[in-house]
Amino acid sequence: MTITLNGKSQILDESAELLAILHDRQVDPAHVVVEINQSIIPRDAFATTLVNDGDAIEILRFVGGG
């Protein structure tokens, strides 16, 4: 299946939990905020949210800014 992760097309073998996707990428869930298809996913739902084919995922974190 194909998802769009931070604007880039990515192929996943199968449906995965959001939390697993973060872990695969060494991302600490406590430091990010996630939108799937423009809906914000609460942090405590990361473990139970399934990412599906065609989903557009935005994983954001704070950076230096003015």
Binding site: N6, G7, R25, Q26, V27, D28, H31, V32, V33, E35, Q38, I40, P42, R43, E58, I59, L60, R61, F62, V63, G64, G65, G66
Partner: protein, 259 residues
């Protein structure tokens, strides 16, 4: 003297707000914040860079600071609202600096979209600090929209040009009941002192500290400059005149003949 600044119901001790952008070495940020003595620090929200997953600006920000995420990147009210909600979902508080920009050369804020975003977010309980191009009509609408403070620009972001919109900001300070925070353009401590002498409630700056040769020294310089300007504003500065007025007595001179 009890000279408290209250924004969104919260007492803020320091009238210097700094940004966290543009640092060559982010690890000095704690020392910069310490030297600046500031309570509020701005951050931006960007996509995770999966090549550097452990990078985290918040590591450098002491826990007791108020985080002020901005909506940089937003070109419309809708985008700003979306970014604000994401920022709040991080669990780092509900303060938000609205920054809606359509102009890439001068990075000037779009006052209209800014008002709309302020309206939506204030209604959702955010503490909204809108960055705006100084204009009395806009400021009044931002007040009505529920802003917690008004942040007019002194000059375009990152230009260090100083308070080039002085007359318009003075009018805001005189006419608007909310705190007026001069944001953008402040490039030297004397600019910050000037803003505070004018009666600004606070100043927000990033470039002038982050890109200085010695950001920690510059942070301290701005802290002192802001405090100096505030003290002067409260301490009743005498006015200027055209003709001279002697500082030493005009009587009792040597060799004068007296009656």
């Amino acid at each position: 003297m009890n000279d408290e600044l209250v924004i969104g119901g919260q007492v803020v001790r320091s009238r210097l707000i700094t940004g966290s952008g543009k640092y060559q070495d982010e690890s000095i940020i704690p020392q910069v914040l310490e030297a600046a003595g500031c309570d509020i620090i701005t951050v931006a929200l960007r996509r995770m860079d999966f090549d550097r997953p452990t990078e985290n600006i918040l590591r450098h920000v002491p826990k007791n600071k108020i985080l002020l995420p901005n909506t940089s990147g937003a070109r419309t009210a809708a985008e700003a609202v979306r970014l604000a909600r994401l920022a709040r979902a991080t669990g780092c508080g509900d303060w938000i600096k609205i920054e809606v920009i359509n102009d890439q050369k001068f990075l000037l804020p779009d006052n209209y979209e800014t008002i709309k975003a302020t309206e939506v977010l204030a209604a959702e309980g955010f503490v909204v600090l809108p960055y705006m191009c100084p204009d009395l009509g806009t400021a009044r609408r931002l007040v009505d929209a529920g802003a917690a403070a008004i942040m007019p620009l002194g000059a375009p972001i990152g230009t260090n040009r100083g308070i080039r919109t002085r007359d318009l900001i003075e009018i805001l300070i005189e006419e608007i009941a909310l705190p007026i925070i001069v944001d953008a353009g402040i490039g030297r401590p004397s600019h910050a002192t000037e803003a505070m002498e004018m009666g600004a409630a606070a100043v927000l700056l990033n470039t002038a500290i982050a890109t200085a040769d010695d950001p920690i020294a510059m942070a301290r310089a701005f802290r002192l400059a802001v405090e100096a300007g505030r003290l002067a504003y409260l301490g009743g500065m005498p006015g200027a005149s055209t003709f001279a007025r002697a500082s030493s007595p005009l009587t009792g001179f040597l060799d004068q003949t007296e009656a």
